[in-house]
Amino acid sequence: MTRRIVAVILLSVWTTLIVGGVAAYVAVRSVMLDELDAAIAQRAATLAVLNDAGGLAAHRQDYPGDRYLVLDDRGQTVARMPVTTETGHRFSIVSNVFTTLGDGSRVRTLTLDTAGASTESGQPRGLRVVYSAPAHSFDRTLARLAWTLLLGGAATGLVAALSARLVARRALKPLNDATRAIGGINVDTLDRRLDATPLPPELRPVATTLNGMLSALAEAVAQRRQFIADASHELRTPLAAIIMALEVSLSRPRSESDQRQTLQRCLANATSLRRLVEHLLDRVRSDHMAATEPAAAVRVDDLLDDVVTQVTSLAEQRGVWIERSCEAGLHVTTQPHRLRSIVLNLVSNAIDHNLPNRWVHVAAQCLDSDFILTVSDNGPGIAVEHQARVFEPFYRVSPSRESSDGHVGLGLFLVQSNVTALGGRYVLESEEGKGTVIRVFLPGCVSWVHPSDPSPISTVRHDGAMASS
């Protein structure tokens, strides 16, 4: 960058100086040449006047180095190189050339003709004067001028280049500093920010944008770290319980019933571990899915059927009834895996935290192209202080990490991340002792009511508790 700026400035300065120098040289040269020629013509005219006065033959040279040849109109030599100043003759310059003599010196030779001006005698006398004068003074002056221009130009160019370099360096220093600062930021130092104050005003928005990006990155990394720390904590505790139970059990001989108890405890912990791992993998998969899974039209009817079938055995275990209702022909254009994860986690969470002989209702409807999924239950409800936090990862309403209930505290977190990823939102309403309603709103709903479909709403009741009893 600096080099390019220096090169451009150097080039433009030198171009300007060369053009200016050449123009000055040409102008000065032409002025000087005119003066030289005028001086030579003046001297030639003097010769002509002398000739008229008849004193040309006695003329001695006034100017050292000048040579002349004066011819009359018949071509006869009147005088050769050999003094008053009066003009009467009008010369026209026939030619003016520089010639180099045998000794290497340069002279200016003018050939001048006079048509014969009126003289005192009134006789016109045509004369031709060939007059040479040394050009060394002229040459020296011009050479000096040329050198002055050349050296001055070169020096000015260099000075310009150096100052350009200095200015460019100074101008680029904040940028270089910023580059170095950015280069020093890695995943462990995301709390660093660029200082925008030393930057020129043009670069400040870049720093602001970068700082904003760093903040967003830092937050994402911190969230991920927290998630990993929480996840490792959640994985280690049941693992510690299993290892401890087995080691203590193996440390001395045990009765069969003792061993059985130990194995049952281990199984319970292993089951909760398996659940946790499944949830973690589900989360990783849905993260991965975000980039790859294309949106597709999902038939909500089928999806709800699928999910209800999947949770039936859990519902039977807990003695919870499941109901579902859905407008016929409802379709959502969305990422199918995410939608399925949302429904499944909401429904199994509602069953998990419910009491025997209560119900869980899952309903889907379409309102102004918003897909609304409602999962409600008449279970124990969630206390106000927990309501805002149940969507956080690994958050559990019960403060103790009971392994027996098998909750890992990731279900609603998965719902939250998937709803957010699909551009939707959710609302939780809950009252202790009365139940909980979670509504999810997703964009992209279309209702295709088939004309042959007789009922607009299909309701299916899964009496889990009844069926098993």
Binding site: S232, L235, I243, M244, E247, V248, S400, R401
Partner: protein
């Protein structure tokens, strides 16, 4: 030796308590931070196993509070968090050791022995009194060339006296370090164990090592 286990995970705490009791320790269990704090204040435990994530009051707060209140029981933090910062925080607040879950049973036992040894200013794992040698690691006792076989509680009592060689230990202190809140025995059980120990250690030797200080308690020493 009496240990307080403050751990809220049901299965893990149950295994810890059972295992430690089998090792001859008296063990009290708390599954809640407030309760653990109360228990740590009310009894000079020989060791406290403290989980960091406890309901009602987190383990680090419990640790900070008991250290401010000059409770000297050695504390081993048990936690599933292994970030360097967590470990440094725990140790800076006055923890004597830090064990990340899941840990090996043998390692936990070794660390408990180590912090107890350190808290009693002992450098070696074995205690020597005259020709009596008590190895706290292998739980073996030798008097001269003779190996003495002791029951778990007998060993625990002897080891406690051994940790306080030359000092008089009262019966109630002994009782407090050998029995937890679940043991429904009176302090006269100590007299029974002392009698057993004398039988097994001093009976065949002319030089007696276990002495009674009337009205004060017992002392283990070779300088009567």
């Amino acid at each position: 030796m009496r240990i307080l286990v403050a751990e809220d995970h049901v299965d893990l705490s149950r295994s810890l308590v059972e295992g430690l009791r089998e090792e001859g320790y008296a063990v009290d269990l708390s599954r809640d931070g407030q309760e653990a704090l109360h228990m740590a204040r009310s009894h000079p435990y020989d060791c406290i196993l403290l989980d960091i994530m406890l309901p009602t009051l987190d383990g680090l707060t419990v640790l900070r509070t008991i250290r401010v209140e000059q409770v000297r029981s050695p504390v081993i933090c048990l936690t599933a968090r292994d970030a360097l910062k967590d470990r440094i925080d725990g140790l800076d607040l006055g923890a004597d050791d830090y064990l990340v879950k899941p840990f090996a049973w043998a390692e936990l036992l070794a660390r408990i022995r180590a912090v107890i040894r350190r808290s009693k200013d002992q450098l070696s794992t074995s205690i020597r009194v005259g020709d009596l040698e008590i190895d706290t690691t292998t739980k073996t006792v030798r008097r001269g060339e003779r190996t003495v076989h002791l029951a778990a509680k007998e060993f625990a009592l002897l080891a406690y006296l051994g940790h306080h060689v030359g000092k008089v230990v009262s019966r109630s202190e002994l009782w407090g370090h050998l029995y937890d809140d679940l043991d429904e025995v009176g302090s006269n059980v100590i007299d029974v164990y002392i009698a057993n120990l004398r039988k097994k250690i001093d009976h065949e030797n002319a030089a007696k090592l276990i002495h009674t200080r009337r009205g004060q308690g017992y002392v283990l020493t070779d300088k009567p």
